[in-house]
Each structure stands twice: as C-alpha cells, then as structure tokens.
C-alpha cells in the first residue's frame, strides 16, 4: 500500500500528538490546574510564556490542551474498542450462522436503529450519577462509564460490517473446506473468520474513532462528560463557548481546542481513507 504525502503527514501528526499526550506529565509545561488571578484571559503569545494564552482562571491553555488530548484520545481509543468488542462478535455470529439467527439478529439491530439511542444514553448517564459511590468502589469512574456508553452507541455499524464480512468469508472455499472437514464452528470462527475480517475492521476502527471523540465533545457540552479538574477537548471548547461574550475578546479559548480537535479528526479521516483504498 502506497501512501501519499498527505497521509504521511497525517500519520506523523497523530503519532506526535499521541506521544505528546502520553508524555504530558513530564513535559516542561505549566500545571494545567494552576489558577493565576494575575494572568486571566491572556491572548496567545506564540513565542513567549503563555504560548496559547490563558483561560478565564489564568490557567495555561497549552497545558490544558495537551492534558485534554490525553482524555480525548483515550476516550476515542477505548470507546471504539468497546464498540468493536460488542459489534464484532454480534455481527460475525449473525453472518456466519446465517439463516434464522441472522434474521433475528438483524431485525433487532434494525429496531435499535430507529430508536433515539442518544436519548437513552443520556438517561443512563444521568441515572448512573445516583450510583456513583457504588460504582467508584468497583473502579468505575465517569471515564469508564463513558467508554461503555460510547460502545453501546457505536457498535451497530461495526456489527453490520462484521456481518457482511462473515457472510462473504463463509462462501470462500477454505471456510467451506473447514466445514466439510468437520472442524468445530467455534474454531472456524476463531481461526478463519476473525483473522480475515481484520482489514475491513481496521477501516471501521479508524472511522469510528473520530465519531467517538465528537460524541465525547457532545456529552461534555451537555455537562455529562469528564469531570473537572480533568479536561478534554470537548470540555475546553465548551468552556470557550461559555466564556464568549460580545464585550471581552476571548475567542482563542474556543478556537485553540477546536483546532486541535479538528486537526486530529481530519488526520484520522485521511488515514482511514488510505486504509480504504
């Protein structure tokens, strides 16, 4: 597979960003939680100390964006992982078993599709607020709940792709041979179907990550995202929107995290396209 220059740049950007996000605690940047009443709403200096400016509490925006990258990327990655873990077995089973099973499973999927799932997830998240103390005991914070919620929201498209792939593979000679040879069905699924679905699923993965990151921004906006002091890009952009008013110029508070978010999603799109060809 030959990638174009644009795709190389996209990969480079994503890798650089991930490394910076991973290393954020050790980078020479200000503390992202440190408030400074003397340095409120300083516009970006680009070369001098608050490189990307400060927010309404005087916190360094560069540090906040880098720490936000940790959460946003983690949500994108793990949320997608959960969606895949639900969607792949569901779809692979439907496609491989076929017949009545397939029909029932797909009917169910169709029914789910015509339900406003987002409404349900919002419900669920707000209801689970009640049980926060109990969930914290078993190691479930807001972030983990979030992974689950996102997985529930986004597994359907993955399941459809997995089903289509399983249907296609089932007709292939090597799978037919395995069936004729009396290989166990679970073994066929594991040894022949799953590994051969990976290329299609890779595209699906790369397409789902941006949607999950956007969903995090959406939930942050509604006040159901990560909780302070933790920051995410969606939450930061929302803070920027909240700080916006006609009298004080503070547009960079919204622009900086939004640009980070936009660039990342564009890079992911670019990479997904390259995997698609």
């Amino acid at each position: 597979m030959k990638s174009t220059r644009g795709q190389k740049v996209a990969w480079g950007f994503l890798i650089l960003l991930s490394v910076a996000a991973l290393l954020a605690p050790w980078l020479p940047i200000a503390d992202f939680r440190l408030m400074n009443a003397d340095a409120r709403l300083q516009p970006p200096q680009w070369t001098a100390a608050p490189v990307l400016g400060t927010d309404a509490e005087g916190r360094d925006l560069l540090a906040r964006v880098l720490w936000g990258a940790r959460i946003s990327l983690a949500v994108g990655f793990f949320g997608t992982l959960v969606a895949m873990l639900i969607g792949i077995p569901y779809g692979a089973l439907a496609g491989f078993l076929g017949g009545r099973w397939d029909r029932i499973q797909m009917r169910f999927a169709d029914a789910l599709e015509s339900i406003p799932m987002v409404v349900f997830v919002l419900f669920l998240l707000s209801i689970l607020q009640e049980y926060r103390a109990d969930l914290a005991v078993i190691g479930f914070g807001r972030l983990q709940l979030f992974f689950l919620a996102v997985g529930v929201l986004f597994w359907l498209p993955t399941a459809r792709v997995a089903r289509a792939e399983a249907l296609r593979l089932r007709k292939q000679p090597f799978v037919q041979a395995a069936i004729a040879g009396g290989m166990k069905r679970s073994a066929i699924l594991w040894r022949h179907i799953l590994p051969n679905m990976l290329p299609a699923l890779r595209v699906m993965l790369l397409l789902t990550v941006p949607r999950v990151i956007l969903m995090e921004a959406f939930l942050s906006f509604l006040g159901l995202g990560v909780e302070p002091p933790a920051v995410s890009w969606g939450g930061l952009a929302n803070d920027g929107l909240a700080a916006m008013n006609p009298l004080v110029d503070s547009i960079w508070l919204m622009l900086v995290p939004s640009i980070a978010l936009g660039l990342t999603l564009l890079a992911l799109q670019k990479v997904a396209n390259s995997a698609d060809d």
Binding site: S126, E130, F218, F221, A237, L241
Partner: protein
C-alpha cells in the same frame, strides 16, 4: 401491506421504548423530590401519593400506558401545575421548525455543492469545497455555533444571538444544524456523481450535443439522489442529537432543552414524554425515508 407492517413495527417500537424508559426511571434510587434539605416524611409521602409514586410498579405502568394512548403523560414533576402534554405541545413546533429547516438547508446546499464538486473535482474550487466539507464534519456542532455567533452576532451584529422571535432568530440555528449535514450530503453526492459523470450515458449525451445543464439533471443528479435518500434516516437521527446542543446554545425552548433539563433534574414524566415523542418522530422519519427509497428504486421492495 408493507406499510401496515411497518406501521405496526413503529407502534411496537414506541411501546417498547416507553416501557424501557419507564423502568429505567422508576427503578433508580434517586427520587424527583430529593433536595439538599431532607423533606419531612409526611410531606414526602403526600407528594408521592399525589403523583402516584407510592403504588406498585405494575399499577404505575398501567396508568402510564393508558396515559400514553390518550396522549396524556400526567403532570410535570418540576414545572408546577403544568401538564407534560402542554409543555410538549409548546415545545414540539419549535423543534419541528428547527429540524425541518435544518434538513431543508442541508439538502439545498449539499446536493448542488456535491454536483459542483464532482464536476470540478480536479480544479481548485472543487477541491476547496471538498476540503471545507471534510472540515465541517470534523468539528463539534457547538464550535460551529460559536464561530457563527462570533461573526454574525458579535462582530457584525446582523443576527440575534439567542431567544425566540421571528425567522431571524432561527437563521443561525438552522445553519449550525444544517451545515454539517450538508457536508455529509456533499460527500455522498460527490462520490456518486463522479461515477455517473464517467458513465456511458453521459458520454453519449455529450456526444449528441445536449446542454450540460440537462445532462447533469437527467443522468447525474438522478443516480446521485439514491444515497441521499438512504441518508435521510440517519440524518434525522443526527438532527435530533444536534438539536439537543443547538437548542441549548441558542436558548430555544424546544424538546431538546426540556429533555436535557428533565434528565438532569429527574423530572420522570417530562423525560418520558419527550423520549416517546422523539422515538415517534425518528421512527416516522426513517419510515418515510424507507418508503421514499422503495418508491425510487423498486428493486429494494422486491428484496424486503
């Protein structure tokens, strides 16, 4: 026959959603009358009795179900002395105007832009539009709202930033909700139209000397509309999700605003009402989109 079956499925879906939402809300620990200060047990009991929260779950469900059939969701738990159906009746038109307008904008911008992009795929403006569409899809709804607000309301002062008034108040919300969708439609139309432009029929029509306007309308636009109609179902879901955000940004008292408030303040009855209305709307939209698609392409009907 097909329509009847789909309608039955629609009603069944609404009932299931109603039951699920009902169970989810009634089985949680927190009640709607929790507050920082503990209520007197007698007051608490009186409140629960007033709203029927002290009866067995099955009886409560029976009441809710008969209410659903009559279109009556009982009194709101937070808005004093107000029926949920009254709130819904006030909010629904606003949400419908917002969503319908956004869909219209998405189609009116997305389809021509997609055709234009496909015809000029190799030149600068086509690429520019394509990249712009991709960028729109990479930004959350509320960021677009913030940008448009900053430009049109704060800098230029052309449009009101929030509230309910005339058509002017709806312009920005329509754009914020419609533009990302139009970007999606642009991408769909573009890829299909690019294929169609290379087809034999287009080459033949060009050779015959048909004017480009007619060629595009007859041989490029028609095949490109298929994916757009298939997208109408997911698009209505996206509008629904987006309206939660946009209504909040622009302070429009629509269903989304009420739903978020209700979910956060545990106003059971109101949240249930909005959920049912949302489900009914979304189901109706996907139903219509499917029927339209079958009408356009009879092969689909034969399959299902």
């Amino acid at each position: 026959m097909r329509i009847v079956r789909r309608l039955c499925a629609w009603i069944f879906g609404i009932l299931m959603v109603h039951l699920l939402a009902f169970l989810m809300m009634r089985t949680t620990r927190g009640g709607p009358f929790d507050s920082a200060r503990a209520l007197d047990p007698i007051v608490q009991r009186a409140l629960e009795q007033r709203y029927g929260l002290d009866q067995p779950l099955l009886v409560q469900y029976g009441h809710a179900l008969s209410g659903l059939i009559r279109g009556d969701f009982g009194p709101s738990l937070r808005y004093r002395d107000t029926q949920v159906s009254t709130l819904l009746a006030d909010a629904l038109p606003i949400s419908l105007i917002l969503g319908g307008g956004a869909l219209l904008i998405a189609l009116l911008i997305g389809i021509p832009a997609g055709l234009y992009c496909a015809r000029r795929a190799r030149s600068f403006d086509g690429k520019f539009l394509h990249a712009g569409g991709a960028l729109l899809l990479a930004l959350p709804n509320f960021v677009l709202a913030g940008l448009l607000l900053a430009i049109f309301s704060f800098q230029l002062g052309w449009l009101p930033p929030a509230g309910l008034g005339g058509v002017r108040n709806f312009l920005l919300p329509w754009l914020c909700l419609g533009l990302p969708l139009s970007a999606q439609i642009l991408l769909l139309v573009r890829s299909k139209a690019k294929q169609a432009l290379c087809s034999d029929s287009v080459r033949h029509a060009t050779a015959e000397g048909l004017p480009p306007r007619i060629i595009v309308r007859r041989y490029v636009l028609r095949p490109s509309l298929g994916p757009v109609i298939a997208f109408l179902g997911p698009a209505s879901a996206a509008i629904l999700t987006g309206s939660l955000v946009i209504e909040k940004v622009f302070a429009l008292p629509g269903l989304g605003t009420f739903f978020v408030q209700a979910a956060l303040s545990r106003d059971y009855t109101l949240a249930l009402g909005v959920t049912v209305v949302y489900t009914a709307l979304l189901g109706l939209c996907t139903l219509l989109a499917d029927l339209l698609m079958a009408r356009m392409d009879p092969r689909l009907e034969a399959v299902s």
